[in-house]
Assembly symmetry: C3
């Protein structure tokens, strides 16, 4: 038991205390810190006050579908924004951003949380941002996906770049904290456990599906114990492209979904016809949608020479209709990357929200679908 | 081999060196740190100089008893104080505190070391406090219990609150450092490995006794290799209440003791008679005392509405005589929580040491027992 | 995908941004950091530009020999310097150091990288030093050995002193980073995985060869995936003295070498004749040279009472000829410790490079051998 009774101590009192210390028996060097900043005053976790929210249906898993409280199928169509912390630092963290996304008829927004940003801002500081996102999205009828935005091989704690560095322990603590805080929040529907698992051609170690599977199961159990209503989302290797291991060794937990990042150059069928693309996508990850809810938590393209052009997102534009017909015919949810002029492939060209080529395309699909039953 | 021959380098010399650096071939940026603060000058571990101590019997384990050098049974009856670091920061770290505790006829003081305090102060800085405690306690004929005061599930590195956060590695390093420093110090009799193990209803993961058992065995081996005379103390799950696993799967090491924190609301027999309490306590942890030394490293109560009242310490006061008759009839040692007006349930109301209700009760028991043979 | 398009943001713009922030909807506290220091601007790994290097043969393993591009046997004879970071801080990091070493007819220089120095300076900062070492050594025709200079038992993350503290994760990240940066650099021939493995008589835990073996194999695989041409070097327990486990349970990877630190007092044959020393050395580690390339990455001695005299390097000087005849008759490479007046046993007495007793001895051996075929 360790209930600390002391309350906020005034700085005046503290100054007195420290002065006294120099005059009495206390000859141990005293760190000149305010007692209100001391380790015993660090705040404990507290759940989000859901009385601040408007009514919004909890999303659940039913067979291979996301459903709402009435059992209606829900297909997510939306966009990723940049890391909320990066938006704050660039003065772009604003409700207007969410309003614009809503005006495109998106029903979901993905929030990529970089481990380095989480550490820089701290748990309390980052939750201040997620709280705002929850209030804005809830008011606008949007759902949120929280994404632990790392790239690498978590079991070895090796990552592509410094910004993606984290540890197994930090990842467990992140998900425990998120699940404990948002346990009563329907708005935050999906917990994307790890953005893009990869060993970069063994340069981060040998990938092992059984190891990855059991680490995800551990995280899922942890999430569930803290938030029984959240839907954990699991990604596969090759930067979240390859779900083939799910065929014979799926995650041994109910009520979860899978994620895929099917950028255009991840598959290279010959010849590159729509039919051939669909065949490869079906084999690599599309088959998962027959048994589990599936969501492409990132997709998008840019023309060679276009803004932020880089492998594996280069495409002449045929990708848009091809991937949309694949997704929509199978009821697969999707989130386009990225509703930000600084992260490619971009959906907007500037902060006046001018749609890019792919932006205009995905906007049109969302607006057409918003009128239909799903 | 890496014996560094250089000694303290004067700041004047260093300034010269750094100035010279700017003028010569050295175009690498040089951190403007004193060489005396450089990584190669960080001090190595050194053992406590036990020639500073008065004669005091080493405590050992014999069957289910603590015994002194003459084989006499020793039963610890004492109090926990607050974390020494917190006391320093509040100007309450003083020999007078130990003198007052001695005047209550306690024979032991427990020192709860929070991981966050250990990190804030650093190994050298924290040992400065423990060294003082050893000198004060030794002079007064008191024994000390060092307690790694975390709450949570160490195998998963998940904890109740930020102040309790640690890692397996930090815990191993803490115990190696403590055991190496106090290997020759009889005063520091018990090493309480981990204050309160719990998964908080699986919200910190699934608890597994075998995992917990083997981690404790690893720490015990580490302690023993550095300090063969220390007595490691092991706690069970449910915030150190439940020792039932010891029945069939005890820790596979000799010479250890077990800890329990039997706060009043941890058991709820119906009706709540003394006989029924004793029956439940016997089943949950009391049986351990038949085979091993057992010590309640925390116990105490407060009346509903009293100072710092909180679950699970609420009780009308009947708890005091009930738990004392249970402990004393079985030779179980005990330490009351907490000899500090800021940590509940309190034993003192203020820094003039005015006893609280439970404080007066435990003081009386200690004074009565001090006159008896044990 | 996470390509950030933003480039360096001017401080003026940032100031504007932060000011604006106070006036608009953004009421979240903004850390007052330049965006150029933000987590998303931290630089990614980049390989060393090998076009800056003169032609130098890659070293490979062939049977129990190091060989050059023509298949000629290479025997390394050289010296360790101090940690480059320590040399910078003392204004001794200079090409002249490498020139002096070359003038002694050494063909290799060992660079001990202390984990604490690596952390203090940071990856980019430390690579700036290693880059310089590569350029200097390459120009002078020297080979380099990078040594992760820790002492302790890495599987338990417990170490002899604070300066040697590291973690498994940090060690993996270090070797991945080094291998990725120097993959095209023949100059950096040997990667010495861990300087001196030891549990200090179980005070850091129980040593287990199988655990140590598999951790080394994991690191070797990681190195190889990033740098297929590097030669990983593995050490045994007892401060890198004992390789007896290699007899029956060698590291299960091809193309590696073993390291030994055969300081004089590690063996104590009776009577201490050359023949008896050779017999013990053959049994403890010399036998390894029959099947694998072997290199004594540290050796040296000092007379009792001499500069920096300490166990286990004390010797009357007979050690020099005894160990040299052992090494040279078996084709074992060796590196003397230490070409620095501050780290004992010293090879130089001062920064005018005056040879010590052992310095003069090893200098003579190197100069004699430099004239021979190997």
């Amino acid at each position: 038991m360790s209930l600390y009774l002391g309350r906020r101590i005034s700085l005046a009192w503290l100054a007195l205390c420290l002065t006294a210390c120099n005059l009495t028996a206390c000859n141990t060097s005293v760190p000149q810190k305010s007692a209100t900043e001391a380790w015993w005053s660090r705040p404990a976790l507290a759940s989000f006050d859901s009385s601040r929210l408007r009514a919004q249906s909890y999303i659940q898993v039913q067979g291979n579908r996301f459903v709402d409280d009435q059992g209606n199928t829900v297909i997510f169509r939306g966009v990723s924004i940049a890391d909320p912390d990066a938006l704050v630092r660039q003065n772009r963290w604003d409700k207007k951003l969410f309003q614009e996304i809503r005006s495109w008829d998106a029903n979901a927004v993905r929030l990529p949380v970089h481990p380095a940003a989480w550490r820089d801002r701290g748990e309390q500081g980052y939750f201040a941002l997620l709280d705002q996102a929850v209030l804005w999205a809830n008011e606008l009828g949007l759902y949120l996906i929280v994404d632990w935005h790392s790239i690498g091989y978590l079991p070895n704690e090796l990552f592509q770049d410094p910004r993606y560095e984290t540890t197994v322990t930090e990842t467990l603590r992140f998900w425990r904290a998120v699940a404990a805080r948002y346990r009563n929040v329907p708005t935050l529907a999906l917990y994307e456990i790890f953005n893009e698992p990869t060993t970069m051609g063994a340069s981060l170690g040998q990938p092992e599906w059984e190891t990855w599977k059991s680490l995800n199961e551990k995280i899922i159990d942890l999430i569930r114990a803290n938030d029984p209503t959240a839907i954990p989302v699991v990604a596969g290797f090759d930067w979240a492209y390859d779900l083939s291991s799910v065929q014979n060794r799926p995650i041994s937990r109910d009520g979860i979904a899978y994620a895929v990042h099917p950028y255009p150059q991840k598959a290279s069928p010959s010849p590159p016809t729509e039919e051939n693309y669909h065949q490869v996508w079906q084999r690599d990850w599309g088959f998962v949608a027959e048994r589990y809810p599936l969501i492409a938590t990132e997709l998008g393209w840019v023309k060679p020479g276009g803004r932020g052009a880089h492998v594996p997102v280069l495409n002449d534009g045929s990708y848009g209709p091809q991937i949309m017909s694949f997704m929509e015919s199978r009821g697969i949810s999707w989130i386009a990357w990225c509703f930000d002029p600084n992260w490619a492939p971009v959906l907007i060209e500037d902060w006046r929200f001018t749609p890019s080529e792919q932006g205009a395309f995905f906007k049109q699909v969302m607006q057409e679908k918003a009128g239909s039953s799903q």
